[in-house]
Point group: C2
Chain length 292, copies 2
């Protein structure tokens, strides 16, 4: 069994981006600029946005943060989105989700200029990804694709079982891995809560992508000897062994599953760290006009 090290890979991606940004600046090019809109004070969102800003600093991007209290109106938020759409200095921006209930996430997502939509949530990017055109692909699926590539995991003709059909992970993973080329050309099965014989389906998988958000859902009995297991789950569970009082659990019962795997991503330190690397990659692509 070998570990797919997302932390190290993420650092490698960031180092590469930093080197490229340094070159761009040396040649007198424009510094890539990622902006983020953060509404309210959700703990998870605060942490995530802070990490994004830190990562921008590391690679040499300009970053800016627009904060709103959670009393902001939808109209005010949309006006700010429009402002960033029209701000020539901003290459890409994100609106950190979730948003307060009185604001339509769909409306806000749709309002972002898809050419600056480095989160890849705009229908235009989802659609282009689906038909195989250049697109901003959202952070988690892109991070998984990057891990598969960098660890040279064979996908062509393999049976991939994706557990979960969410718009941000399960669905895009099933599309990307069944498309032509590498990493792709896999036979992909999408499973979910209505799947009848999940254990049996998983047992036939060469590669399992677990993205259900249920801690330790995937047990050893569901995994074939030699399978590759990508664990997308990150559920906070209470723990008396950590200072914070909680720890992150993946969707895979790691201790019993890992010994059967050829490759496995740990939690934490697997897919998680890749998301910010993906966002930086998308921002660099936006700055270089590589997608649109």
């Amino acid at each position: 069994m070998q570990i797919i090290d997302g932390k190290a890979t993420s650092q490698k991606v960031k180092d590469e981006i930093a080197a490229e940004v340094a070159q761009i600046k040396e040649k007198g090019g424009k510094t890539p600029h990622l902006a983020a809109i953060l509404v309210g004070h959700d703990g998870g969102s605060e942490t995530y946005v802070a990490a994004k800003i830190k990562a921008c600093e590391f690679v040499g991007f300009k970053s800016s943060l627009v904060r709103f209290e959670d009393t902001v109106t939808e109209e005010e938020l949309l006006a700010k989105v429009e402002e960033l759409n029209n701000d020539a200095d901003v290459d890409g921006f994100i609106v950190q989700l979730p948003l307060p209930k009185h604001i339509s996430e769909e409306k806000v997502t749709d309002a972002v200029d898809y050419r600056k939509d480095v989160d890849g949530f705009h229908p235009q990017n989802v659609g282009r990804m689906s038909i195989g055109s250049p697109a901003f692909i959202s952070a988690t699926p892109q991070g998984i694709m990057e891990l598969i590539k960098r660890y040279e995991i064979e996908t062509s003709g393999k049976h991939v079982v994706v557990i979960g059909r969410s718009n941000i992970v399960g669905r895009p993973m099933s599309v990307l891995l069944s498309q032509k080329g590498y990493p792709g050309d896999a036979t992909v099965t999408v499973c979910h809560s209505r799947t009848a014989n999940l254990n049996e389906v998983c047992l036939s998988a060469d590669i399992i992508i677990a993205a259900i958000g249920a801690p330790e859902f995937v047990k050893a009995e569901m995994v074939k000897e030699g399978a590759v297991v990508i664990d997308v789950g990150t559920t906070r569970v209470k723990s008396d062994k950590t200072k914070s009082g909680w720890k992150l659990k993946g969707d895979v019962a790691y201790d019993e599953v890992a010994p059967k795997c050829s490759w496995i991503t740990p939690v934490p330190g697997g897919v998680g760290p890749m998301t910010i690397a993906s966002l930086l990659q998308n921002t660099l692509k936006a700055a270089k006009n590589e997608v649109y």
Copy 2:
């Protein structure tokens, strides 16, 4: 074995639309208007566009046809698209594919206002379908969904095998049937030319969607007793038994497969006739502003 009769179902859909249009007109409402752009004189395209116009007449839509010789420039074509985008009387329009090689189909498809894109080819519609938002769904997948609905075929928890990953059939079918709700909630496997053990995968299917474009590809040995088989293939093959000198063949070896099926679509008379019904449904939705 029972036959899913696409011809009869298509007629039923058209009758329903005709009744609704009559009501709209009676109440003094605007007549739904479908426009088509046809470039060149491709035989298949001519036939298809003529059938669309006839169908529009049947249901009481206004229809208009814009013809170009295949010497038309991309610029001229895009100007016409823009004109139709801005023509308030036109509720929906299509640009009949294929286009001559000197014109970018992607550019033209992207130029169509997605709110009038009743063919459902615009990335915005593909993306919205993928994330489960209201969208124009392209004719063939929507026609298949309509057949499944009208024949009350159970999909929840069933194993659907989609053979083919094209943007116009395989991909959207895999998305639609794995989404929440009915017809959906199926466990869906996407197979294609790189699939290793296709026979085995197909044998485990409760429902097979054959969309590969290879005549009589699906044999009896690939189909489980009692399966539902949807045949999307329509390949013209030479025949000395017809006046025209050719006949349509599906992707399924009908004679040997049909006896094993609970339900099967014939070719011709299965999925094919539903496409025009779908286009009419989309145009009516556009006229009623039901999607956007």
